[in-house]
Symmetry: D3
Subunit: 238 residues, 6 copies
């Protein structure tokens, strides 16, 4: 009998839990990060933290930046998104994973209305969503694996605000999540300011490069690539 209790306890470590009072990344750093694109932030991070490219915006130009409220869903069941709504603070982005591959429409205009009322800035979901027309009209940014009109039930427990893997990336509650046309990137809460600074440095750097390239300077010359290419054996033939 004790074995069974141990098993249940173990499971309870990850399923059936709602963590309140999470530590969110510094608001000022989040505000700075909101000014950069996903590609720039990913570079500034040292090229880690990017979700896989199958997560796509539901309308062209969708973008958001905020602190993660994480959700672990069961297939065909969106109950935990309702539970998560209560944990949303203004400026949050809900990030939802599923215990298995599933494309059901976990999220639609009613939940979006509720999330927006709570101050959520967007949703990233490793699953399906529906009510695309309404979500687009509301300009509520959603990044999802699929669009599906298939609804879900409310029958099994997942969790809110535990560590999850979404689109192949680890997300902790409170991390900064930035999403745009190029994809979705996660910045660990503790690194938010550092990454914002690095992104700013990078962007400043890029403006100068862009001007030179627009003037016809070749990257081969601007980046001094000709010598290393020749050393590796690149040959020009006519």
């Amino acid at each position: 009998m004790e074995k069974r209790i141990e098993t249940n306890k173990m499971q309870m470590n990850q399923l059936g839990i709602v963590k309140r009072g999470i530590d969110r990344a510094d608001a000022a750093a989040v505000a700075q990060l909101a000014g950069f694109g996903v590609a720039t932030i990913h570079e500034a991070m040292g090229r880690v933290g990017l979700m896989r490219p199958y997560l796509k915006p539901i309308y062209a130009g969708a973008h958001c930046c905020g602190t993660a409220v994480t959700v672990l869903l069961q297939p065909g069941d969106n109950w935990m998104l309702h539970v998560a709504a209560e944990q949303i603070a203004p400026g949050d982005v809900v990030v939802a994973a599923c215990t298995t591959d599933n494309t059901d429409g976990f999220f639609g205009d009613l939940l979006a209305t509720s999330f927006q009322a709570r101050g959520a800035r967007g949703l990233v979901i490793d699953g399906g969503v529906r009510d695309i027309k309404d979500l687009t009209a509301m300009q509520f940014p959603v990044f999802a694996k699929a669009v599906s009109a298939k609804g879900t039930v409310k029958a099994t427990l997942g969790s809110v605000n535990i560590e999850i893997v979404c689109g192949g990336a680890v997300v902790h509650p409170g991390d900064v999540v930035i999403a745009d046309d190029d994809g979705v990137v996660v910045v660990p809460a503790a690194m938010a300011q550092q990454v914002a600074d690095a992104a700013a440095a990078r962007e400043a750097n890029e403006a100068a490069k862009r001007a030179r390239l627009a003037a016809g300077v070749l990257g081969l010359d601007m980046y001094a690539m000709r010598e290393p290419l020749a050393q590796l054996g690149l040959r020009y033939v006519d």
Copy 2:
């Protein structure tokens, strides 16, 4: 020799047939269904009849509702779409499946012109289409598995107005087919009015819910979810 004839007869039960004079769903019910989205109708149906989410609109905002003229195609061959054109009545949606997986461009602006002239409201096709620019300019709604410039031949027989499986769903000629950004759903002709009524009831219901959620009421409270969640063992931790 008689065996061979039997075989041919059997095949003829499903290939090489054009059924005329199909029974279409009640026009008034179809008109009512046209006022609802696919997600709402799918719910009103009891969550059956939805096509798989790989069928996508060729332009954002494409939507249509009408009675099905069904087509069974052979791979790389669009002959039966020409045969189907003659069977289109104003208000129909052509629904085309293929005997195997194939992404060729079975349909383009010429067929669309013909279909439109016959009164068709759209096309749902478990295959590829082309002339996207023209189809978009014509605002002829198409829901397809792929876009491909690859043309097709006119060499082998399929059928028109037989039972088909399109996007994983069974479609009979005369069924109501509704398609929008959320996907494609099939309503059996005999259930059209019943589903339209259920959709109307559901939609009325949703408006009230949306208002409460927009005012900040949580789904947890509005749907009385807290107790069943607690009974299943959901724990809040800080």
Copy 3:
């Protein structure tokens, strides 16, 4: 209120139903069909009734033939397979579809033990299975979309012995289902004898052809293809 009842009734037409006392295809015809491969039967059918090629045997050489007990599953939930077990008669093959795309491990060695005890000859499932090692040792033939150790819950209702779409093909309870290394084909119960006869005719025919081809006769000559090819414009160049 009445609307809601109507809706529920409608849903009940397809979900939450177990049909007992189904009409199975003629046993003698099924026995004959068991002697042919899927490709032969599919040809004998006039090339209809084939499931999509993503359904694969879990071990090389798996094959089965029997009458269908159909199951409609919900994602992540295998409850209806337990319900179906009671409806299995000796000689049946269980054919399971899901209301949405899902790869969870709906079926493993315990259910296989139960199915085998009831006389089932195999399982075809548009979803995932697990316990591959045990199922292989039992030589219980399974044709599935995926292998996944992910277990399922028992929380939501589907149906048993209703019309389903599995692997893109329509299956009615009692239809003959034949599965081998080449795929899975469905023979409507009413056509079982006719298809068995046509398959026999075809197979006899093939033996003679095989002998001639093995002796070096070309299909070009055996099938008299040279003239129609030339008429279409085939050119030989050196």
Copy 4:
């Protein structure tokens, strides 16, 4: 030792090479081809030269036509795109393949700025791109397999202006590449004028057909299909 040299020479035939001074298709023919859609040109070519449909425009309406500068990339490495920039002449389209399947973001706004400054009309890439927002704002047409913020390194050699396979089609430097919403097609340089003429003939032909179809004439009659269909055994039933 000599063996090793031979091996290196062999490899050098395809990797580590930049061909300058390529023979581009006739400019007047390219200008004519720019007036036709991909589907029309593909038909005029006799239905060859089309890339697979997984290459998609990064924004609706993107289209381009030009002479190919070809690039062979290594996975996760965009160095050769910088090398290719120098080989671009006004009116070129860069066509990039990769030695293996890879979805990294090989190309973004800086390279686009450089390419545009060199006179490039677009990019076709069997890989990923990023900076979608900027590329859209620049209206620089890109046709790609994926969108990914994942950056690339500059560490390994590929080649520029060798024969490549992109999207399943062979491309030689100097060939004409036309891309629009329907896909991407390659016209061998030597056939450019011939194909342009055939496309013009075809398009003239289509306008007349479109008018008749719009007036309600059926393709069945316009193309005289009724007799061949009847001969193959098409049956009309009521």
Copy 5:
């Protein structure tokens, strides 16, 4: 300039690192876990920690259990697998992820020989492998996303023994990794004994169930499912 240093430091937190002296799960617990299948352990874990089902054994019956040495690879580059070899202790399983989707053949018979000489029990890799014939002859168990003869370079840095995401699951160095025909599951090092105990309890439990099911008892009765099914509205019809 300081900004750049910060950026580099940040990147260095995750790339270019080899952690020595990792804490491996308790050897006795690992030995016990080796006696159970992946499905059993996944259940005993409370259904968490499973990798996605696209990771497949390269030969039927491959299985392994050991402590994780983790590797983060760059696309098309297997240098870090050589670095990882030195960190292998007898009883380890190497678990390799890649910074992006890539199917190159990162691993073949030479590395397998080296890994085996170091005492490795297997490899789990979110990428491609080659030399399948040799690996099968060596009976070195490998679970991979793809098979590809495409070799890799040694040009860019990844890391060894950092936290990685492989097949959608988080893996820390020293965790227990169990892989068989059903998939791959990760047991956090600290939970190894607890999970081994729970798996043992579960397995004992299963033997009794299997015997009853083999004797013809229905799961409906054995699990007392009839009443909850009836309460949810399951109806039997004839």
Copy 6:
């Protein structure tokens, strides 16, 4: 009218052609290449000429080496395989591409019997095949994209012995094609001896390496990797 003739001539350049009397690679070189695996030959080629990894053997251990007879198929139509049979000389491998993505079963035991009688050593096909059980019993090696019982018609022209793209690789008639568990590689006819020599050199080299690695020598030392890794900044931490 002349335009139309030009168009037809152009199409005839690639469709509706059978080239006889092709130049096959040197038989002695082919015999030598047959002794090496695909991965070794791919390396010896300088890592070019590999087909994409979606082409898979239909039974474990299938392998073949021979000179290519190439076939271009139309979707759902295997007529050209019959035409190709006549062009097979002992020692050939048939390599078949399709003008579009299609998974139909183009090839089965009858054609295999014919091919084998003509001396063919195997088939590589960018499409589907069937009769897996028979083909395995015959030990006729086939590498295919899919297995499907779906048969094909004989209605449209493709070509035999023209340049094709199969699995993403260019194949000319007479090239050497080697296929095994690791994939399929193409060696241009003119390079056959050179590649065979390079493969031999490489293999000799590998045996020595394997022995050292088996004795516990690390690749880090054997390949002198420690210094370049340190220079790139690899850090060891405890």
